[in-house]
């Protein structure tokens, strides 16, 4: 199946263990579809971050099969992983900004790695920083920024290259409610208008209610449950336009 087909990600009986420890993820089988908005919930230690690491290709599973964008991740040579990673946008839990780079250069990093020309980078990054309210902090380095500012830089970096799939690990944990809502709307806009598949891991149950068409995957001790039918087959249709959205 090619990447424009019915699936973006397909996990088949996936397990993950670190070293010789017991599995932190067991028997995960699910499919993520283009244009869908997923919340990944679960208690601390349930395996959310481990599952996200598999999704953003920081880790290969111990067993099972993973296909992303129609390609077999398990057997893919590591030289080809960058091509897949450039289709992803990731907001890491601890932001993982490059400490020596300014906010501007951190946001510009995915575009520079993809070989975009500098004029395009300057325009896109300036606009993005303006949008997340950090234009005045463009030349600040992460160590001089607050947690909320760093988080916004991390989010701007994740979405700047229009990823096919956005993966966010607790993306609103360090911002005030107003900014949290604004960032969530950014994810929705990407989801609805650009067609980006969004996966947001969160503890915040209030956040789930703010995206009505979202699907919920719940992790419990490394096993997935499916309170909204996110994992059922045949899948739900991709997120439909919301009332009030322009055609």
């Amino acid at each position: 199946m090619n990447e424009r087909g019915a699936e973006i990600v397909k996990f088949d009986n996936v397990g993950l263990r670190y070293g010789t420890d017991p599995e932190v993820l067991s028997n995960l089988s699910f499919t993520l579809y283009p244009g869908s908005f997923y919340f990944l919930t679960g208690a601390s230690g349930a395996g959310k971050t481990s599952l996200l690491k598999l999704l953003y290709l920081a880790q290969r599973p111990s067993r099972g099969a993973i296909r992303m964008f129609g390609q077999d991740v398990m057997t893919m040579p590591r030289e080809r992983l960058p091509d897949l990673r450039r289709r992803l946008g990731v907001v890491f839990q601890n932001f993982r900004l490059v400490p020596h780079l300014t906010a501007f250069d951190n946001v510009a990093l995915p575009l520079r790695l993809a070989g975009a020309d500098e004029a395009r980078i300057i325009k896109a990054v300036s606009d993005m920083l303006e949008w997340v309210g950090l234009a005045h902090r463009a030349q600040a380095i992460p160590a001089t920024m607050s947690g909320g500012e760093q988080q916004r830089v991390a989010i701007a970096r994740a979405v700047i290259a229009r990823p096919r799939m956005l993966i966010a690990d607790e993306p609103t944990g360090n911002v005030d409610p107003e900014m949290a809502l604004k960032l969530l709307r950014l994810f929705e806009a990407l989801n609805n208008r650009v067609g980006t598949t969004v996966v947001v891991a969160t503890h915040d149950v209030h956040l789930l209610k703010k995206v009505p068409d979202s699907l919920i995957m719940r992790l419990n001790k490394g096993q997935l449950s499916d309170p909204t039918g996110a994992l059922r087959y045949p899948p739900r249709p991709a997120a439909a336009p919301r009332a009030g959205d322009p055609a």
């Binding site: 992803l88 490059v98 790695l113 806009a189 208008r193």
Partner: protein, 311 residues
């Protein structure tokens, strides 16, 4: 809610997956390889320059001496009776002049022999109390094989009893052997220093990579390729190795020049044969270039192998 100001999507609507950038402009600040690396490289390159210059000078010395001496022989006739010495010398000259291999023949004058011997024998050299052999310098038309020298010796023995022939190059055979050993020593030293340079760069590259591991992981996760990451580090290696190599070359070449001046002041015929030709200086100029290339190759291999352990 406004749409965020995202860059334009490609025409086909697919995600922007461009070919990796050839360079890696401003991706990262310059990672430092370790403050001592340029200085270590400078010292090692200076040693190689000195060793290379020494090896080349020894080679030139041996070659010049060999060329001068290989086409010459000395005939010695020991004649206790001073009245017969002149006749013996003439007989040797007569015997040799007809030979095809001989270009010139010269009987070394007694005064010249006495002057050569006087520093060792004092007035005895000229008193006639000490029997001084007749010496005849023979220049050959070409470098003679040992068999040809032996043939000349046999011909002389039949016509001039007591005549003995010495190939001059034979006198210096032990010297050539020692010079050859010194050249191998210089080559060995260059090899050891090259290994030391590679080891220093290997350690520095691993340290730099460990120091920037978090950043490297981030770049990987954002879609950076090994080539881009290696490019970032190689830029630093190039700058630091080039600085060290330039400094080392200046130091080494300065030391070689000073040594050359010292040897030139000896005013010795043999030492003057060990001068460096322009092509030798050109070869020495290749040392820093080779050093930088070695540093780059070592760093590239080190980083590539380390990256292979990361996903």
């Amino acid at each position: 809610m406004s749409v965020p100001p995202l860059p334009e999507a490609p025409d086909d609507g697919a995600v922007a997956v461009a070919a990796p950038a050839q360079g890696a402009p401003r991706l990262l600040p310059r990672p430092r390889m370790g403050g001592l690396i340029p200085w270590v490289i400078a010292i090692l390159i200076a040693l190689v320059v000195i060793a290379a210059a020494g090896g080349l000078a020894l080679r030139n010395l041996a070659e010049n001496a060999r060329t001068e001496l290989a086409a010459a022989v000395t005939v010695q006739v020991i004649e206790p009776n001073p009245d017969l010495r002149g006749a013996r010398g003439e007989a040797v000259v007569a015997a040799l002049r007809g030979m095809e291999l001989v270009r010139t023949v010269r009987v070394v004058p007694q005064e010249e022999l006495a002057a050569l011997l006087e520093p060792w024998l004092g007035e005895g050299a000229t008193s006639g109390d000490v029997p001084i052999p007749v010496l005849v310098d023979v220049e050959l038309t070409r470098r003679a094989a040992p068999a040809e020298i032996a043939a000349i010796a046999r011909a002389l023995e039949t016509r001039v009893p007591g005549a003995r022939i010495d190939a001059q190059s034979e006198w210096l055979r032990p010297v050539y052997s020692a010079l050859g050993a010194l050249q191998w020593l210089a080559l060995g030293l260059i090899g050891v220093v090259a290994l030391a340079t590679a080891a220093a760069v290997w350690l520095a590259a691993r340290n730099a990579l460990a120091q920037h591991r978090e950043t490297v992981e981030i770049i990987h996760l954002l879609g950076g390729t090994d080539r881009q990451i290696i490019g970032i580090f190689l830029g630093t290696v190039l700058r630091e190795a080039a600085f060290g190599a330039a400094l080392g070359t200046i130091l080494g070449a300065g030391a070689v020049w000073l040594l050359g001046q010292q040897f030139a002041a000896l005013d010795s015929g043999m030492a003057s044969g060990g001068g460096l030709a322009p092509t030798d200086w050109l070869a020495i100029a290749m040392v820093p270039l080779a050093g930088v290339l070695l540093a780059l190759a070592t760093a590239r291999m080190t980083i590539a192998l380390a990256l292979r352990d990361m996903l």
